[in-house]
């Protein structure tokens, strides 16, 4: 959750973060799935951490080399992908039990979901805090930016409202179905 909230002040960092997570997710799922028969139950978490940490470090070095500005903007949150629950959870729940194809599809699906939620948060916060999307102005000149939305408090409020909206939709569906 913490990187999710920290990198969604604008669309660009949110998307960069998502791509990095998808890369790590696919690579770790592939490796874990292909060595799943060799894994010893009591050593599996160690192996997961080792594999995930390696790919995260590679992604971090890649960003530093090719996208230095983005790497600066994301700061410590790229290395923090190592402790991202989604990746650890998919390694445990899916890749260590299923074959290569299913693991790759699982990584893509999970990654797409992560990307969508990060980008929705990023777009809302960027529009309201700077009046722009992807750094291109979209709001009328008279629009007063809400600076608070760029700070962590903005992330919590936006996320809270989105979850409330989702709950509302789910509840409505449940009542219409019943």
């Amino acid at each position: 959750m913490c990187p999710t909230l920290a990198v969604t002040a604008a669309l660009k960092p949110a998307l960069t973060m998502s791509v990095a997570v998808i890369f790590v997710l696919i690579c770790s799922n592939v490796v874990i799935s292909s060595i799943r028969h060799l894994l010893k139950p009591h050593l599996r978490i160690l192996m997961f951490t080792l594999i995930i940490a390696s790919f995260v470090t590679i992604a971090d070095l890649f960003l530093k080399a090719y996208l230095p500005n983005m790497s600066e903007a994301l700061g410590p949150y790229v290395p923090l992908i190592i402790v991202n629950c989604i990746i650890m959870c998919r390694a445990e729940a899916c890749a260590s039990k299923n074959g290569l194809v299913i693991s790759i599809l699982d990584a893509l699906g999970m990654g797409a979901g992560f990307t969508i939620s990060l980008c929705v948060l990023g777009v809302i916060r960027e529009i309201l805090s700077t009046g722009a999307v992807w750094e291109i102005p979209v709001m009328p000149k008279s629009f007063v930016p809400w600076a608070a939305l760029r700070m962590p408090v903005g992330a919590f409020i936006t996320l809270g409202l989105l979850i409330a909206l989702m709950n509302l939709i789910i509840k409505k569906r449940a009542t219409t179905a019943a």
Binding site: I35, I51, T57, F62, A65, Y66, S129
Partner: protein, 205 residues
């Protein structure tokens, strides 16, 4: 003996993959380390090039020690912008000080006879997003472009488009605005004095 065998049986995968991934990281680092290093120097060059657009390249002229009231002493790297025809197009140097969130590092550019500020850029800062980090925005930075290379003053209200020694503060971020003015005030004049002593500023060039 059986204990060692048991140990290896249990952990061979972990040991082998540690070696494998260690090697992988070493290769990745070796491949990209020069690029990462080059990015850092390029960032400074790019900032200086934006401030002094006529310069084709930048030469490190010298390093100066500046005493400032807030800290012991600071090392300033002074660069000279050289145009395609070899003319001096201006000077650029790094300067830093404390703002609201923490240290602010600037690159400041001055015209070739040290009379007018050519602008500044923020190399790194951790000022509050939406408030203090407006020091990076062009309306605030624009006030310094063409301002006299003398002691600058911070004003709470005024017209930011008027170019003089009065700098209009960012609403809600007076400390950050004052910090930038202080950083420039604290380095500019001592640096000019030292450059004159070294004979770098004689003959109008």
């Amino acid at each position: 003996m059986s204990k060692i065998k048991y140990f290896i049986q249990q952990s061979w995968l972990l040991i082998a993959s540690s070696l494998f991934f260690g090697l992988l990281l070493a290769i990745a680092d070796a491949a990209w380390a020069p690029m990462i290093e080059a990015n850092k120097t390029k960032e400074l060059d790019n900032l200086m090039a934006e401030l002094l657009p006529d310069a084709k390249k930048f030469q490190l002229v010298g390093q100066f020690q500046i005493e400032s009231p807030s800290r012991q002493s600071e090392q300033i790297n002074l660069y000279k912008g050289v145009s395609a025809s070899g003319q001096n197009t201006g000077w650029a140097f790094n300067a830093s000080g404390f703002g609201f969130g923490g240290e602010i590092e600037l690159v400041v550019a001055i015209d070739n006879d040290f009379k007018k500020i050519a602008g500044f850029k923020v190399l790194s800062s951790i000022e509050t997003p939406g408030f203090g980090d407006q020091i990076k925005l062009s309306w605030y930075r624009g006030q310094f472009i063409g301002a006299p290379a003398e002691q600058l003053q911070l004003e709470r209200t005024g017209n930011p488009e008027k170019i003089d020694d009065q700098i209009v503060a960012i609403t809600g971020a007076t400390i950050s605005s004052q910090a930038v003015v202080n950083i420039i005030n604290n380095t500019l004049l001592p640096l000019r004095t030292q450059m004159q002593q070294k004979g770098l500023l004689t003959g109008g060039n």
